[in-house]
C-alpha cells in the first residue's frame, strides 16, 4: 500500500487544529467535549495504524514518507517530516495512549473540562511533532512545546503541591534544554564554518561531526545531555520526576511516563548518539555507570516509599536506566532493546498510573498504610494490578522482559561496557521484584484495610454511599487494550524487533563501533577510515573526515 506523505502532516495537524478549535467544534458541554476528543484521538490512532500496515519496513534504515517544505530557507529552516521504524513505533505508542488517557480521565476531571482536553490535544500534536520531525529546529520547538500543556496539566489539575511541582518541572527541564539548543546551533555553525550552508536538517547535521574536533564534539554532546538527560531522566538529574509524577493528575502521569520521558531517550538515540559518534563512544561508559546507579538507587528508594504513586514514579527512574544502558551499549541488541523498552515502559507504567488513579478516585488516598488487601473488594482491579506489576518486573511472556533482556544482553556484550555492567544492572531485576511485590503485597494482598469512612464490607454487589465498587465498564475498557498490547509484545515482540534491526545497525555503523559480531557496511568504510575499534584510538582519525568534505565541495567552489 502506498501511503501519502501527507499522512504525517495529518497526524500532527488533526490534534493541533481540533485542540485549537475545540471551543467552536464542541461547545461548552462537558459530555460533548469528552466524546469529541476521544473521537479525534481514536481517529488519529487508526491513522497511525496505517503507518504500521502500509509502511515499507524493508528499507527501514532510511527515512520514509519524507516531506519537505520551505520555511526560512536562508536560515536552514524547513518543515521536514519523515519517519523510520523507530519513530513509527513511538508515534503508535503516543496515539495509542492518548485515547486511553482521555477515556481514563472521564470521571477524574470535573472542573475546567474544556481546557483540560485542549491541553491534551495540543500535547499530542507536539509529541507526534517530535517523532515525525527530521529538522532539528522543528524537533526542538515541539520538544519544548510539550512543556507548556504539561505545565498546565500539572498546575491546574494536580494534587495539593501541584504549583510547586509544575514550576519545578518546567524550569528544571527548560533550563537544561537551553543548553541543548545552544549545542544544536553550534553544530549547525560548524557546518557553516566549514563552508556549508545553514541547514538544520538531520541529514546535514549528521555530517557536522566531520568538521568538529573531539573536544568540540564532546562539549556539544554534554550540552545535548543537559537537556536530554534531564528529560529522560538520568541519575542525578532526576529529582524533578518524582515530584511531577506524584502531583500530576493521572492523565498527566500517564502521558509523562508513557511518552514525555521517551522524548529524552528518543532524542538521545536520534540526535545525540548518531550525530556525535565519537563523543557518544567517549561518554558511553560514563552514561552506563549513571544508568546503573539510577537503576539500583531508584529501585532501593522505591522499596521504602509509602505512597504508591511515588513508588511508581521512582520506578520510572530505575526503568529508564535500562533504556539508557542499552542505548549506550551501541550494538544492535542494546539499541533495539532500548527502543523496545521505551514502548514497553510506556505501556506498563502508564497502566500502573491508571490503576493507581482508579484507586485514588475511590478512596482519595495513595498511602499504603491506609490501603491493604484490595483484592477482596476489587478483584478485577487486583487482577489487572498483578498483571501490570508482572509486566513491570519483566516477566518473560509479557512485554517488559524483552526490552530488559535485550538491553542487558547489549551491555554485556558491548565493548564499551561489559559483563560487570550487566551484572550490576541486573540486580535491578531483583530489586525491581522486591519493590513491586512489596507494593502488591501491601495494596492487593493481605487483610483488608480501608481509609476511615469507607465501608469495609466484602460484598462487592452493594453500591452507593461509601460502598466502593470494583472497576466499571469504562475503566475495564481503558485497561484491556493496554493488557492486550503487553501480552502481544511479550509473546510476539518480533513484529517490532525485526523492523528495528536496520535502524539500530545504522546507528552502530554510524558510530563506527566495530562490535565483534556486526560487520560494518560498505557505506561506512567510505566515510571514515581506519575504523575506530576502541574509544582510546579515536584521536587518530581526527583530520581525515574534514578533508573529505573539503574535497567534496571543491568543484562547487571553482564554479
Amino acid at each position: 500500500m502506498e501511503l501519502p506523505f501527507a499522512l504525517l502532516l495529518f497526524l500532527v495537524l488533526i490534534p493541533l487544529l481540533s485542540g485549537l478549535l475545540l471551543p467552536l467544534l464542541a461547545g461548552n458541554d462537558a459530555e460533548k467535549i469528552k466524546t469529541f476528543t476521544l473521537g479525534i484521538t481514536v481517529i488519529n490512532f487508526f491513522m497511525s495504524l496505517l503507518l504500521l500496515v502500509g509502511y515499507d519496513f524493508s528499507n527501514s534504515a532510511e527515512y520514509g514518507l519524507v516531506f519537505n517544505t520551505e520555511w526560512f530557507s536562508s536560515l536552514g529552516l524547513t518543515f521536514s517530516f519523515g519517519v523510520d521504524s523507530i519513530s513509527i513505533w513511538l508515534i503508535l505508542l503516543t496515539t495509542f495512549l492518548m485515547p486511553i488517557v482521555i477515556l481514563g480521565s472521564y470521571s477524574a476531571v470535573t472542573e475546567r473540562v474544556r481546557e483540560f482536553y485542549i491541553w491534551l490535544l495540543l500535547l499530542e500534536a507536539a509529541m507526534i511533532g517530535v517523532f515525525v520531525s527530521t529538522n532539528v529546529i522543528f524537533f526542538y520547538i515541539c520538544f519544548e512545546f510539550t512543556l507548556i500543556p504539561m505545565y498546565f496539566l500539572i498546575g491546574i489539575y494536580g494534587s495539593s503541591d501541584r504549583l510547586k511541582a509544575a514550576r519545578v518541572f518546567f524550569l528544571y527541564t527548560f533550563t537544561g534544554s537551553m543548553l541543548t539548543f545552544a549545542g544544536i546551533i553550534y553544530m549547525a555553525w560548524c557546518n557553516v564554518a566549514a563552508g556549508g550552508m545553514w541547514d538544520f536538517g538531520f541529514a546535514a547535521l549528521s555530517t557536522a561531526h566531520q568538521n568538529m574536533s573531539d573536544s568540540q564534539q564532546l562539549w556539544v554532546m554534554l550540552a545535548m545531555l543537559a537537556g536530554f538527560a534531564v528529560k529522560v531522566p538520568i541519575f542525578p538529574v532526576h529529582t524533578w520526576l518524582p515530584l511531577a509524577h506524584t502531583e500530576a493528575p493521572t492523565s498527566g502521569s500517564v502521558v509523562l511516563a508513557g511518552v514525555l520521558l521517551k522524548l529524552g531517550t528518543y532524542a538521545l538515540i536520534r540526535i545525540a548518539i548518531p550525530m556525535l559518534p565519537k563523543a557518544a563512544l567517549a561518554v558511553a561508559p560514563m552514561m552506563g555507570v549513571a544508568a546503573i546507579i539510577g537503576i539500583v538507587y531508584a529501585a532501593l528508594i522505591c522499596w521504602r516509599q509509602k505512597d504508591i504513586k511515588k513508588l511508581v514514579a521512582y520506578s520510572s527512574v530505575s526503568h529508564l536506566g535500562f533504556c539508557v544502558l542499552g542505548m549506550f551499549a551501541i550494538n544492535v541488541q542494546g539499541l533495539s532493546g532500548s527502543v523496545m523498552y521505551m514502548i514497553n515502559h510506556g505501556l506498563s507504567t502508564g497502566a500502573l498510573f491508571l490503576l493507581i488513579g482508579m484507586v485514588y478516585e475511590r478512596y482519595h488516598t495513595r498511602e499504603m498504610a491506609q490501603l491493604n488487601g484490595l483484592a477482596k473488594v476489587m478483584p478485577i482491579w487486583a487482577s489487572f494490578m498483578v498483571f501490570f506489576a508482572m509486566a513491570s518486573v519483566g516477566l518473560p511472556g509479557l512485554n517488559g522482559f524483552v526490552g530488559e533482556f535485550l538491553t542487558l544482553l547489549g551491555s554485556f556484550n558491548s565493548i564499551l561496557m561489559g559483563p560487570v555492567y550487566a551484572a550490576v544492572a541486573g540486580t535491578g531485576l531483583i530489586f525491581g521484584a522486591i519493590y513491586i511485590l512489596y507494593m502488591v503485597g501491601k495494596v492487593v494482598w493481605g487483610p483488608l484495610k480501608l481509609p476511615e469512612g469507607h465501608d469495609d464490607h466484602a460484598s462487592g454487589g452493594a453500591s452507593g454511599g461509601h460502598h466502593v465498587t470494583d472497576l466499571n465498564r469504562r475503566e475495564i475498557a481503558v485497561l484491556i487494550p493496554l493488557a492486550l498490547a503487553c501480552l502481544w509484545l511479550g509473546l510476539y515482540p518480533n513484529c517490532m524487533l525485526k523492523t528495528l534491526d536496520a535502524p539500530s545497525q545504522a546507528i552502530v555503523d554510524r558510530v563506527g563501533l566495530e562490535g565483534h559480531e556486526q560487520p560494518l557496511g560498505p557505506m561506512h568504510r567510505h566515510v571514515e577510515n581506519p575504523l575506530p575499534t576502541h574509544p582510546a584510538q579515536l584521536t587518530v582519525l581526527d583530520h581525515t573526515p574534514s578533508t573529505d568534505i573539503a574535497t567534496a565541495q571543491l568543484p562547487g567552489v571553482h564554479q
Binding site: 542525578p236 529529582t239 544492535v332 516477566l395 511472556g397 544482553l409 550487566a422 503485597g441 524487533l497 534491526d501
Partner: protein
C-alpha cells in the same frame, strides 16, 4: 510430531477459560474439569511425542513461531524434543493430571476455586514450555513463568499475611538465582554465538576441558546459581519451606514434583556445557550433598507435617544435584522421576490429613489416625517406604543409583572429596528413613488423639452451602476418610508409581537419559576413563539389580569398595541405613515414645537449633535484608536532602540576592534553574576528568 507443539498451549487455553470462570459464580466449578481435560490431553500428546522420540531416533526440533530476534541474537518459540524432554513431559503432565484430579476435590467449595485452576493451568503451560524449549531463553520463560504461578499459588490464601510474605519471598529468592541464570545466558551467547541447544551442542561436541575457552568454563557456574534458586539448594533454599503456605495440591505439584526439579533438568540439559569445566560439576555435587544433609537434619525436628515434607524435598533435591554433579545424569533424572511420584503422594496424603483435621498440621496434635483414615494411612505408608529407600521401592532404585555412581566416581577417580560426598549421602539416607517414619508413626500409630485445627482455607464467605463433596461443613469434630473417586483414586496411581516406578523403569530410564543431551556416557566417562588409564568399556552386568545395570559403569568398572563392586556395596550399605532409620523411628516413635521425649530434653540445645532451622532466616534478615532496607532509606534521604538540597541551596542564593535587589518570589524558581546548571557543571567536570584520563 508437529502436534506436540500444542502440549503447552492446551493448558494455557484452559487457564484462560478458567479465568473466565472466575467472573461468574455459576461457572466456577467447571474450572477444574477444564484444566484436568487439558492437562490430560497434553499427557496424551506427550505419549504421541514419545512414539516419535526414542533413544534411537535422535532429537527433533519443532518450530512454532519467532519470538525475539535482534541482530544475530535469536530465540524462538520452538520446541526441542529429545528423550529427556519426554521424561520431563511425562512427569509434568502425568503427575500434573493426577494432582489436578485430586485438587478438584480438595479445593471444592473454596471461594477462589477458578482462580486456583487458572494458576495451575498457567503453571502447566510454563512448566511444559520450560522442558520443551529449544533454547535457553525459552527455558528462562518457563522458569520465570513457573515462578509467577508459584507466587500466585503460595499467596493463594491472600488474606493471610504469612502466605503473602511467603509468596513474595519465593519470588524474590528465585530472582536472585535468576540473575545468575540470565548472566549465564548472556555469556553463552557471547561464547557460542547462539543460545539454541542444537548450536551449543554442536560446538561442545568438539570441545573438552582443555580446548574450551575460559568464558565457557564460567557459564556453568552462572547457570547453577539459577538452578540453586529454583531447586531450593543452599544458599537459596529458604523459600521452599515457607512455600507450604499454599494449598497442599500446589505443594505437591509445584513444590515437590515438578517446578523445583527444574534446576536438575537445567543441569542435565546443559550437561555438555557443564562438562567443559573441571570443577563445576563437583561444585554442584558438593552443594547437593550439603543441602541433602542440612535439610535432612532440619527435617528431623520439625512438627508441622508439611514442613517435614518440605525439608525432605529440599533434601531429596540435594540428592538429585549430587547425582548430576557426579555426572550420573541417569541417577539424577531417575530420582527426579521417582521422587515426583512418592513426594506428590506424601504431600497429597498430608493434605488429606490436613483436610480431615480442618487445617491441623502439627503432628503433636494428632496420633493413631490409622482407624479414622485407613486408605490415607496406607497410601502414605507406601510413600514413606519409597522416600525411606526401602528395598525394591522406587526411591530405593534411584537413590541407590546416585549413591553408587557417586561412590564409584570417587573411588574410580581417586577423588577423596567425592567419596566424602557419597558417604554423606548415605548418612542422609539413614536420616531420611528416620524422619519419614517418625512422621508416619506419630500420625497414624499409637493411641488415637487429635486436636482439630481452625481451618484456614480462607473461604469464610462460603460457609455451609457450597461444599461440593458434601461430607461436612466446618463444624465436624472427628477426622474422616476422603472421598474415593475424587481424591483417593488419583493417589492410588501415584502409589503404584511409588512402588513399581523403580524396577519397571530403570532400564527405560537409562536408555532414555543416555540418548539425550544429559548423557555423560560418551563424553565424561570416556574422559574419566582415559585419565584414569583404563579403556572405556561398558560393563553392563545384566541381571543384577539396579546398580550394575547402569551403563555408565564403564569408567568405574574396576572400582571396588570393601572388596565388592562399588554399586553392590553401596546398595547393601544403604539398605542397612534405610532399615536402621526405620527401626530407630519405630523404637522412638512407636514403641517407646517417652524415650524420644527424654532424648529431646537431654539434647535441648541441638533440638532448639534444628527446630529453628539453624536460624538461617534470621541470619539472612540481619545480614542482607536489613542493610538493604537501610540503604534504601539512606538513598531516599540522600535524594531529598542532598540531591534536591543542592538544587534548593543553589536556589537560595539568588533569593538572598533577591532580598536585597527586589522582593520577588521568582528567585526560588531561577534558583532551580541555577541549581540545574551548577549540577550539570559538576557532571561536565567529571566527564572532562574521565576523558582526560581516557584519551
Amino acid at each position: 510430531m508437529e502436534i506436540a507443539k500444542f502440549i503447552p498451549w492446551l493448558p494455557l487455553l484452559a487457564a484462560i477459560l478458567s479465568g473466565i470462570c472466575c467472573m461468574k459464580r455459576s461457572l466456577r466449578d467447571y474450572a477444574s474439569w477444564i484444566v484436568l481435560a487439558a492437562v490430560a490431553a497434553s499427557f496424551g500428546l506427550s505419549l504421541i511425542a514419545a512414539k516419535h522420540i526414542t533413544p534411537e531416533s535422535g532429537p527433533q526440533v519443532v518450530h512454532f513461531f519467532e519470538w525475539i530476534h535482534a541482530g544475530s541474537f535469536k530465540a524462538d518459540f520452538s520446541y526441542y524434543f529429545d528423550t529427556l524432554t519426554i521424561i520431563m513431559l511425562f512427569v509434568v503432565t502425568g503427575i500434573g493430571s493426577l494432582v489436578v484430579w485430586y485438587a478438584g476435590g480438595y479445593m471444592a467449595g473454596d471461594k477462589g476455586y477458578a482462580r486456583f485452576f487458572f494458576a495451575v493451568g498457567l503453571f502447566i503451560f510454563s512448566m511444559t514450555s520450560l522442558v520443551m524449549g529449544d533454547n535457553l531463553l525459552m527455558l528462562f520463560l518457563g522458569w520465570e513463568g513457573v515462578g509467577l504461578c508459584s507466587y500466585l499459588l503460595i499467596g493463594y490464601y491472600y488474606e493471610k499475611p504469612s502466605a503473602v510474605a511467603a509468596g513474595k519471598k519465593a519470588f524474590i529468592v528465585n530472582r536472585i538465582g535468576d540473575l545468575g541464570f540470565a548472566l549465564g545466558i548472556f555469556l553463552t551467547f557471547k561464547e557460542f554465538g547462539s543460545i539454541q541447544y542444537v548450536d551449543i551442542f554442536n560446538q561442545t561436541a568438539h570441545l573438552d576441558t582443555e580446548s574450551a575457552t575460559s568464558g565457557m568454563k564460567i557459564i556453568p557456574y552462572l547457570l547453577m546459581l539459577g538452578a540453586f534458586g529454583k531447586s531450593a539448594q543452599i544458599p537459596l533454599y529458604v523459600w521452599l519451606p515457607d512455600a507450604m503456605e499454599g494449598p497442599t495440591p500446589v505443594s505437591a505439584l509445584i513444590h515437590a514434583a515438578t517446578m523445583v526439579t527444574a534446576g536438575v533438568y537445567m543441569i542435565a540439559r546443559m550437561m555438555p556445557v557443564f562438562l567443559l569445566s573441571e570443577y563445576a560439576l563437583t561444585a554442584v555435587a558438593t552443594v547437593g550433598a550439603a543441602t541433602a544433609l542440612f535439610a535432612g537434619l532440619i527435617a528431623l525436628c520439625q512438627y508441622d507435617i508439611k514442613r517435614v515434607w518440605a525439608y525432605s524435598t529440599v533434601s531429596q533435591l540435594g540428592y538429585m544435584f549430587l547425582g548430576v554433579g557426579v555426572a550420573s545424569s541417569v541417577g539424577g533424572v531417575f530420582h527426579l522421576f521417582t521422587h515426583a511420584f512418592f513426594k506428590a503422594l506424601l504431600f497429597l496424603t498430608a493434605g488429606s490429613v490436613m483436610h480431615a483435621m480442618t487445617g491441623q498440621l502439627d503432628m503433636r496434635n494428632m496420633g493413631g489416625l490409622r482407624k479414622k483414615m485407613p486408605v490415607t494411612c496406607w497410601l502414605m505408608f507406601v510413600g514413606c517406604l519409597a522416600l525411606a529407600g526401602f528395598p525394591l521401592t522406587a526411591g530405593f532404585f534411584s537413590k541407590d543409583l546416585i549413591l553408587g555412581d557417586a561412590m564409584a566416581k570417587g573411588i574410580g577417580d581417586h577423588n577423596g572429596w567425592i567419596q566424602v560426598l557419597a558417604w554423606s549421602g548415605i548418612l542422609t539416607a539413614f536420616m531420611t528413613a528416620y524422619y519419614t517414619f517418625r512422621l508416619w508413626f506419630r500420625v497414624f500409630c499409637g493411641p488415637e488423639h487429635y486436636v482439630m485445627g481452625d481451618d484456614h482455607h480462607g473461604d469464610d464467605d462460603s460457609h455451609g452451602d457450597d461444599h461440593a463433596h458434601g461430607h461436612d461443613d466446618h463444624h465436624h469434630h472427628a477426622p474422616h476418610e476422603m472421598p474415593f473417586a475424587r481424591m483417593n483414586l488419583p493417589l492410588c496411581f501415584l502409589a503404584v508409581g511409588a512402588i513399581a516406578g523403580g524396577f519397571l523403569c530403570h532400564h527405560w530410564m537409562e536408555s532414555m537419559v543416555n540418548a539425550s543431551s544429559a548423557s555423560t556416557v560418551n563424553t565424561a566417562v570416556e574422559h574419566v576413563a582415559t585419565t584414569v588409564g583404563h579403556a572405556t568399556e561398558h560393563a553392563v552386568h545384566a541381571g543384577e539389580v539396579a546398580a550394575d545395570v547402569h551403563a555408565e559403569a564403564g569408567g568405574h568398572g574396576h572400582a571396588s569398595l570393601f572388596g565388592m563392586d562399588v554399586h553392590k556395596a553401596v546398595m547393601i550399605i544403604s539398605i542397612i541405613a534405610a532399615l536402621a532409620g526405620i527401626a530407630l523411628a519405630a523404637y522412638f516413635h512407636l514403641l517407646r515414645r517417652e524415650l524420644a521425649d527424654k532424648a529431646k530434653e537431654n539434647y535441648a540445645g541441638v533440638c532448639d537449633l534444628l527446630e529453628n532451622k539453624f536460624w538461617i532466616d534470621e541470619l539472612y534478615d540481619t545480614a542482607i535484608v536489613r542493610p538493604l532496607k537501610l540503604m534504601g532509606d539512606l538513598f531516599f534521604v540522600f535524594d531529598r536532602l542532598v540531591i534536591n538540597g543542592i538544587v534548593a541551596l543553589v536556589g537560595f542564593i539568588p533569593r538572598l540576592l533577591g532580598i536585597t535587589v527586589r522582593h520577588s518570589q521568582t528567585g526560588v524558581l531561577q534558583g532551580y534553574g541555577l541549581g540545574m546548571i551548577l549540577g550539570l557543571a559538576c557532571i561536565l567536570l567529571m566527564v572532562t576528568w574521565m576523558l582526560s584520563s581516557g584519551f
